[in-house]
Structures are given as C-alpha cells and as structure tokens.
C-alpha cells in the first residue's frame, strides 16, 4: 500500500493510494502507528483513490482514532466515495469520524 504524506501547516495529510482491505490493512495500520507514536496532533486521511474498504479497513481507522484520542489528537477523513461512505454510515462510524467532502473544508476546520 502506497501512502503519500505531506505537511500542510501542521496538519499531516495522508493520501491513500489504493483500497484498504484484508491484505493492505496491516501496512496501513503500521504506517499510522508510526505517526501516532510520534503523537501527530492533526491527521487528515484522503480517500480519493480508495474504491473499496472492508471490515478490516474500518477496524484500522477505528484503531487510528483510538490511538490519537489517547493524546488528544484530531483525525479527519475526506474525499470518500459514496459507496465507501455508505459503509461508514451502515456501521455508524460516520458518527465517530469527522468526514469532510473537500480538502479545503477539512483543513480549515481543524
């Protein structure tokens, strides 16, 4: 799984480059574990290139959320397709995560 990272005025923007499923979830988990170990306070995950997420992917995002919560970090998600967003809605995880439609909205609301 390729993830491109950039810093935008203290907000770590992580752009996922492929689907988050049973095979790629461990990589995604390891990647964000490093960021949360460094206590990155603001993380924005870009789903623009993500067409598919399974329950292991959803669990991975829950874990990132929980890790960040331990030190008061703030996590946001953006650019979810309707289908992927639907999975967050079915599982009620849209109540847990802040999900922005566009990058500008996400960045300005941190």
């Amino acid at each position: 799984m390729q993830i491109c990272m950039e810093d935008k005025d203290g907000i770590v923007v992580c752009r996922l480059r492929s689907d988050v499923d049973i095979n790629s979830s461990p990589d995604v988990r390891n990647y964000f574990e490093r960021l949360t170990r460094d206590k990155k306070e603001k993380i924005l995950i870009d789903f623009k290139d993500v067409d598919y997420v399974d329950s292991s992917g959803l669990a991975t995002f829950v874990e990132i959320f929980k890790n960040m919560r331990t030190y008061g970090g703030k996590l946001k998600l953006m650019n979810l397709s309707n289908k992927v967003r639907g999975l967050f809605e079915i599982t009620k995880l849209d109540k847990l995560f802040e999900i922005a439609a566009q990058e500008a909205d996400a960045l300005s609301s941190f």
Partner: protein, 136 residues
C-alpha cells in the same frame, strides 16, 4: 460463463481476493449496477474473511467451500468453513455504545445490511446469501 460454480480453497487471504475478483468480473459482464457489485463484493469478502479467520481460526490446513449461482436477476453465494460455528444471537451490535470503538464484529453486520437475504446453516459454519440485481 457458467451460471454455477463450486470450489474449495485453502485458508489464504490472497486466494480470498482471487476468488472475489473472479466473481466481481463475472458480475461486471452482466450489466449489473456498480452499487450492487460493490455490495456483493463486500458481502462476499466479509463471508470469506469470517470463514478463514473466525471459522477456520486462520489455520492454513483448513479449507473454505464456496458455491455461487448467477442468473439474470440475482446471485446466490454460499460460503462454508471447517470450524465449530457460532451463535448469531450472541454477536453484539457493533453500532451501539462502546461497541463502536471495537476493532472487530462488523463483518456479519455488513453482510446482513448489504445482501438481500442471509441465512446461516450448520450452526453458523455455512452462510447462504442472495443479492438481487434490481431493487426489490
């Protein structure tokens, strides 16, 4: 393209993707909507994942049986593992309270909500799922 398929695969997540991709390719060739294909994709992989991880306990020596039947109106998918089964009623609702923060327990819930008909047999070792291509 055969309407029916019956195979047995090893307990391996890469095979899971291979089988799933095969079914999705067949559906794409049948003029099925992207939304329905997505639902079947998630439902099928969650059933396979449950069978391999929870049913077969990630044991590489165990197998998963898969049957599919595709018509012009619907697809039926059957997934069976070699585990001891489970009690569906004992599964907590993953959308309630602190369960929202749990890292497991969403697979069965997703299957229930994405597929049109879901039935567990053989004490939960076998799941039979049906998805219609048009809205009911």
């Amino acid at each position: 393209m055969p309407g029916k398929m019956k195979i047995e695969i090893e307990n391996n997540s890469h095979l899971l993707k291979e089988v799933s991709n095969g079914l999705i390719s067949m559906l794409k060739g049948k003029n099925v909507s992207e939304e329905v294909i997505f639902d079947v994709h998630v439902g099928f992989e969650e059933a396979l994942r449950n069978a391999m991880i929870h049913g077969n306990g990630s044991n590489p020596g165990k197998k998963v049986k898969i049957e599919t039947e595709i018509t012009d109106e619907w697809v039926v998918i059957i997934v069976e593992d070699e585990g001891n089964g489970f009690d569906l009623a004992s599964l907590p609702d993953p959308t309630v309270g602190e369960n929202l923060l749990k890292e497991s327990g969403r697979g069965v819930y997703l299957i229930k909500h994405l597929m049109d008909e879901v039935r567990y047999e053989k004490n939960g070792r076998r799941v039979v799922m049906k998805k219609h291509f048009s809205k009911l």
